[in-house]
């Protein structure tokens, strides 16, 4: 029995579910996406009930694949017995010709990874509504449940489920091909996937809402999927390497970002010996691989900034001038309010808090008032400039906007320090 427990590797059910749904949708066609999800769910329930009593079989992945495929065949057979449908007959043939593949495990495992990649491209297709792409990817390609996705995006289950239902309708209609793109459109399509993966990563890493600062499952999942992209010849573009590098370098700091009480620890105060050196090393390798072409993506610049931070052995060693130069590039080429905010911080480090404040105030009141990080950063700079009353007001404003518990605790301690 103890052998059985060890065979049940972490997230086996989740990963296998994503792979099998992807595989079946590719085999049966997107019109059968609901069938694919149903039979995989049935196979997992069967596994749950059988393995609980019998123990886990020697090859759990092959067991699940066999059961899901047989179940799909049963359903299709029953359907075509009621009313012969050409598509169902074709789907049965496709399934039969694939049965037995799971025995040749190495080749089949590669094939499954390719199917997951196809599914990700379908889920992040321009035809799918932007807000649905992340949830749909997690649901179909990664085996997350609706309640888990709702928790990850801190949205109501009904909202997430509606988005997924609509997006699946798009898939079923055939508007979206289940293929990894090739030729001229690869770059654009990869960019769309990368944006979704970075969104998933950030939902996990920055975790703007909820009780935990980091939802490591999302971080791990985003990294895993980005790896699939760079392991596939056609999609291993420089920007994909750059994103993986950025994710790894940022994720290397996760062990130091929260203290033993679950409170936020600012970069300057982190115990750098707790940073994950393996991730840092891989991040560097990926960035080297990303630097092959002339193409400079937003992720390249962000990764370069992350490099400046992880190479500083102490906070005081941080090369802020270099970082500011990178933020200048970022704001010029890929402008966003967050990039400007971070550039203002870099300016304050190089030229002093008043210069940083001036930069921040240039962003305009409507931007500054929308997201807690803006007043919080203003409060920080005001406090450094010795303007304590203004700083207090800014922190109080930030407290009204903050939605994650550790960040709230952090701001409250700032307010206490000033009042």
């Amino acid at each position: 029995m103890s052998d059985s427990v060890s065979q049940l590797v972490d997230h086996l059910f989740r990963h296998q579910s994503g792979r099998l749904v992807s595989h079946l949708v590719r085999t049966l066609g997107p019109a059968h996406v609901d069938l694919a999800e149903d039979v995989v769910q049935d196979a997992l329930v069967a596994a749950l009930r059988s393995w609980a009593l019998d123990g886990v079989p020697a090859n759990p992945g092959a067991w699940l694949t066999r059961v899901a495929k047989n179940r799909a065949l049963d359903v299709l057979r029953r359907r075509s017995a009621l009313k012969a449908k050409y598509a169902d007959v074709l789907a049965q043939q496709a399934l039969r010709s694939g049965l037995g593949d799971e025995g040749e495990s190495v080749r089949f495992a590669d094939e499954l990874d390719d199917d997951v990649l196809r599914m990700i491209f379908a889920c992040c297709h321009p035809e799918i509504a932007p807000a649905a792409r992340g949830p749909l990817t997690l649901k179909l390609a990664c085996g997350f449940g609706v309640s888990e996705i709702a928790r990850a995006f801190v949205a109501a289950e009904a909202t997430i489920s509606q988005r997924i239902v609509r997006a699946k309708r798009q898939l079923r209609s055939g508007a979206v091909e289940i293929e990894v793109p090739t030729g001229g459109e690869v770059g654009e399509r990869v960019d769309s996937v990368l944006d979704v993966l970075y969104l998933v990563f950030n939902e996990g890493y920055a975790a703007h809402r909820g009780e935990n600062l980091v939802r490591s499952e999302l971080v791990d999942e985003a990294i895993r999927l980005t790896r699939l992209l760079i392991d596939h010849e056609g999609t291993a573009l420089p920007q994909a390497h750059a994103l993986l590098s950025l994710m790894l370098l940022q994720a290397s700091r996760i062990p130091a970002r929260v203290d033993d009480h679950g409170s936020l620890v600012l970069l300057a105060d982190q115990d750098r010996s707790r940073w994950d050196q393996a991730r840092i090393a891989e991040g560097f390798r990926c960035l080297a691989a990303a630097s092959g072409g002339e193409y400079l993506s937003e992720f390249h610049v962000q990764a370069a900034i992350a490099v400046c931070h992880v190479t500083a052995r102490r906070d005081a060693d941080t090369d802020w001038e270099q970082i500011l130069a990178h933020y200048d590039t970022l704001v010029a080429r890929f402008p966003s309010a967050i990039a400007s905010l971070n550039r203002a911080v870099a300016i304050s480090k190089v030229k002093g808090p008043l210069e940083g404040l001036a930069e921040l105030d240039d962003l305009g009141a409507d931007v500054l008032d929308g997201y807690y990080l803006f007043p919080a950063t203003r409060g920080e700079l005001l406090s450094q400039a010795g303007r304590h009353e203004d700083a207090l007001a800014a922190f109080l404003r930030a407290l009204e906007l903050v939605t994650s518990d550790p960040e709230r605790v952090f701001l409250e301690s700032r307010v206490r320090g000033l009042s």
Binding site: M1, S2, S4, V5, L8, H11, L12, F13, R14, Q16, S17, Q41, L44, V45, A47, L48, R49, S50, W51, A52, L53, D54, G55, V56, G143, F144, G145, V146, S147, E148
Partner: protein, 120 residues
Amino acid sequence: MAKFTLKFMLALHDDPRGFDDLSPEEMQQIVRRYTEWAGKLAEEGRMAGGEKLSDDGGKVIRRDGGEAVVKDGPYSETKEVFAGFFLIHANSYEDAVEVSRTCPHLEYGGTIEIRAVDLQ
């Protein structure tokens, strides 16, 4: 095994549709709970076996007059099915009940029927 004097069958009944809405991760957690429970029993020398039964309800054969009549099992229409069993070593019904109390099956809405194996 000498320290246990009796053997019990824990017959597990459950509603197979009760797991339909779980996420893959939640299902895996449940499998883990069961295998850990069974593993602990094995360590204590209590585990004597376990099998999952198929959910098709099986067959029932009974002599009706002169002829043996075979029918489909009774389970297809009912909500709960006899899902499978564990065989465990224990010293008394009380002992077997205590062991069953810790079985995850109860947490997930299942029923456990405890029967002593007649060793006389």
